[in-house]
C-alpha cells in the first residue's frame, strides 16, 4: 500500500515537472519560430539598430533601438532609486530584534509585491505624472523618470527580501562577537554586515533589473509610449509596452505582427541572459559562503 502511493507520487511529480519544463521550451520555440520569419525581409542588425518604427507605412521600417534603450534606461532609473531604499530597509530588518515588528514589516512588503501592476500604473498616472508636471513645469509628465519612479516601488520588495536574507544570516553570525568586542550596532552594520552583503546586493540588483524590464502595464500607463530616443524627462516606449499596444491590431501574419514577435524575442533573450547571470553569481556566492 505504502509503496504504491510512493510510486504514484513520484510518477506524478515527474509528469508535472516535465510539463512545466516542456511549457517553457514551447514558449521559447513558438516565439523564436514566429520571429525568425521577419528576417527574410529585414536584416537583424537593421532591426535592433534602426531608429524608426513605422511598420504600416507604404515602405515599412521596423527599428527597435529606441525601445531597447528606453527599456534599459527606465529599468536603470528604477534600480538606482530603489536600491538605496531597499538596502536601508534590509539593514533595518536584519538588525531588528523585535520579531513581531519584523513580521509586520515583512508582510507589508509582501503586500506591496502583490498589488496588481495596473493599480500602480493608475496611481502613477494620477500622482507621479501630475507631480512631475508641477515640479518640472512640464507640459506632460509622462517620462522615463515617472516610469522609473513607479517601477522603483514595484521592484523594492524583491530587493529587500533577497538582501535581508543574507544580512540576517551574517547578523546572527557576528552578533555575539560584536557584542563581546563592544562595538556599536551601527558600526557593526556599516563595517561588517553591509560589506558582507555585497554579492547579495548585486544579485538583487540583477533580479530587480530583470523584473523592471519585463513590467508592462504600469510602465505603459505612465511613459507616454513615443517611439523616440529616451531622455530622463522625455517620453519613451519600452519593448513590452510596444508589444502590448500593437499586437491587438497587427494583422495576423503581417510584417507588423512578426516584427512585434521579434521584439518579444529580443526582450526574452535579454531576460534569459540576465537570469543566467543571476544564477551564476548566486551559485558562486553560496559556494563562497559555505
Amino acid at each position: 500500500m505504502e509503496q504504491t502511493f510512493e510510486k504514484l507520487f513520484s510518477i506524478l511529480s515527474t509528469i508535472f515537472t516535465v510539463i512545466s519544463v516542456v511549457l517553457l521550451f514551447l514558449v521559447i520555440f513558438f516565439i523564436t519560430q514566429e520571429s525568425m520569419l521577419i528576417f527574410q525581409e529585414v536584416n537583424f542588425l537593421d532591426f535592433i539598430s534602426g531608429l524608426t518604427w513605422n511598420p504600416l507605412a507604404s515602405e515599412p521600417t521596423v527599428g527597435i533601438l529606441p525601445m531597447i534603450l528606453a527599456t534599459f534606461y527606465v529599468s536603470m532609473v528604477a534600480v538606482l532609486i530603489s536600491l538605496p531604499i531597499g538596502i536601508g530597509c534590509a539593514l533595518e530588518l536584519a538588525a531588528l530584534e523585535n520579531e513581531r515588528l519584523k513580521g509586520f514589516f515583512t508582510s507589508i512588503l509582501a503586500v506591496l509585491a502583490g498589488i496588481p501592476s495596473v493599480i500602480y500604473g493608475f496611481i502613477g498616472l494620477l500622482v507621479v505624472v501630475k507631480f512631475l508636471e508641477k515640479t518640472f513645469r512640464l507640459a506632460a509628465g509622462e517620462s522615463i523618470l515617472s516610469g522609473g519612479i513607479v517601477l522603483a516601488v514595484m521592484v523594492l520588495p524583491y530587493i529587500v527580501s533577497s538582501v535581508t536574507e543574507t544580512m540576517e544570516k551574517s547578523y546572527k553570525k557576528y552578533k555575539e562577537t560584536s557584542l563581546a568586542l563592544g562595538v556599536s550596532k551601527s558600526y557593526m552594520l556599516r563595517a561588517l554586515i553591509l560589506p558582507n552583503a555585497k554579492g547579495a546586493i548585486l544579485t538583487s540588483m540583477i533580479l530587480a533589473f530583470s523584473r523592471a524590464m519585463g513590467e508592462t502595464m504600469a510602465v505603459m500607463m505612465v511613459m507616454g509610449n513615443s517611439p523616440i530616443l529616451p531622455k530622463l524627462l522625455g517620453k519613451g516606449e519600452t519593448i513590452s509596452a510596444l508589444i502590448a499596444l500593437e499586437i491587438g491590431t497587427a494583422g495576423l501574419g503581417s510584417l507588423h505582427y512578426h516584427a512585434l514577435f521579434t521584439s518579444g524575442f529580443v526582450l526574452m533573450m535579454f531576460l534569459i541572459f540576465l537570469n543566467a547571470l543571476f544564477y551564476l553569481i548566486k551559485k558562486n556566492l553560496t559556494e563562497h559562503l559555505e
Binding site: 509528469i15 498616472l125 507640459a139 502595464m217 513615443s226 499596444l245 491590431t249
Partner: protein, 304 residues
C-alpha cells in the same frame, strides 16, 4: 501514511481536472448526425480588427441566449452554434470574401467599386459608424475663442508644426501642446490619419495611450492636451471633454451617419451571394435593437 494518501489524492484530483480541461476543449466535434441535408452550424467572420470585438461580443451574446441552432428556429438542426471571429484587417476581410474562404467579411472602410466587381452577388450590412471627435480639456481657453477647427489647423497641431497653443491662436499662452493619440498602428488612428492627416506624419513624441479610456483620462487630467476621443467616450464624459467642430460640422450622430462629419468610417459586414437561413438569423440579431445597443455600448454610432 495519512499525509501521503492526501498528497497523492490531491495530485490525482489535480491531474484529473487538468485532463478534463483538455477534453472539454477538444470535445467540440460531436459525431455527425445522419441529417437529410448537412446543416452548417459554423459561421466564419474575418477581417477588420475594429469590428472583430464587436462581432465577438454579439456572437457571445447570441450563443448565451440560444446555445444550439434548434432553439433559434425549430427547423434548424440541433447543433451547437459556432461563430468564429478573427481579426486581420479590413483588406484581408474583403480578400477573404473574394477568395471565398470565409462566410462574412468585416471592413471598417468603404469597399471600393473594383473590389465589389470581383464579388458575385455582393451584399453589405452597414452596422454603424466609428467616429472620433477632436477634443480638449474644457479649461483650455481655445474653447472660449472658437468652437470649430479646420482640417489644416488640426493637421498642423498633430504634425508638430504648431508647437504651443500660442501658435494656434495669438491670444493663448505659450504652453506646449500635448498631443495624445492611440497606438499609431491601430484602427482609431487609421481613421484620423485618413480623414485629417492624409500623407503627413504625426509628430514622433505624441503620447500613445494604451486605450481610449486612457486617452480620455489624459485629456481630462491635462489642460494642455488635445486628442481624438471616440464619439462614445464624449457622451460618457459630458462636461469633462470639449469636442470641436471640424470645418464647422458638429459631431452629432446624424452628421456622422450621413457622412458629413469627416472624421469617421463605416463599419461594414460583407457577403458574397445569398445568406443561409441560419446566417440570416444571426444577422437579424446583429441589426436588431439589442445588437445595436451592444454596438453603441462599445463606443460606436449604431445605424438604427
Amino acid at each position: 501514511m495519512n499525509r501521503k494518501v492526501l498528497t497523492a489524492l490531491f495530485l490525482v484530483v489535480s491531474l484529473a481536472f487538468g485532463l478534463v480541461g483538455c477534453s472539454s476543449q477538444a470535445g467540440g466535434s460531436k459525431p455527425l448526425e445522419d441529417a437529410k441535408t448537412q446543416f452548417k452550424s459554423e459561421i466564419k467572420f474575418y477581417g477588420s480588427t475594429t469590428l472583430a470585438p464587436v462581432l465577438s461580443q454579439l456572437s457571445t451574446n447570441f450563443n448565451e441566449h440560444y446555445a444550439t441552432w434548434d432553439k433559434v428556429d425549430s427547423q434548424f438542426a440541433k447543433k451547437d452554434i459556432a461563430i468564429y471571429v478573427s481579426g486581420a484587417g479590413s483588406s484581408a476581410g474583403v480578400k477573404s470574401i473574394i477568395d471565398g474562404v470565409s462566410d462574412f467579411g468585416m471592413a471598417s472602410r468603404k469597399v471600393s467599386d473594383e473590389e465589389k466587381s470581383k464579388i458575385e452577388g455582393y451584399q453589405e450590412f452597414k452596422l454603424g459608424m466609428d467616429a472620433l471627435t477632436i477634443s480638449v480639456n474644457p479649461k483650455n481657453n481655445l474653447t472660449k475663442l472658437k468652437d470649430s477647427l479646420t482640417t489644416e489647423e488640426i493637421k498642423k497641431i498633430f504634425a508638430g508644426e504648431f508647437k504651443t497653443w500660442n501658435d494656434v491662436d495669438p491670444f493663448l499662452p505659450k504652453t506646449e501642446i500635448v498631443v495624445v493619440t492611440r497606438d499609431i498602428g491601430g484602427g482609431a488612428h487609421e481613421v484620423f490619419q485618413k480623414a485629417i492627416m492624409g500623407d503627413a506624419k504625426v509628430r514622433a513624441d505624441v503620447i500613445q495611450a494604451p486605450s481610449m479610456g486612457a486617452l480620455v483620462t489624459k485629456i481630462i487630467e491635462n489642460e494642455n492636451a488635445i486628442g481624438y476621443a471616440s464619439y462614445g467616450m464624449v457622451n460618457q464624459n459630458k462636461g469633462k471633454l470639449a469636442p470641436f467642430k471640424v470645418d464647422g460640422i458638429e459631431s452629432t450622430s446624424e452628421n456622422i451617419l450621413n457622412g458629413t462629419y469627416k472624421v469617421s468610417r463605416p463599419l461594414i459586414v460583407l457577403k458574397k451571394g445569398d445568406l443561409l437561413p441560419q446566417e440570416k438569423a444571426f444577422m437579424d440579431y446583429v441589426v436588431s435593437d439589442e445588437g445595436m445597443d451592444i454596438i453603441e455600448k462599445l463606443g460606436f454610432v449604431p445605424n438604427r
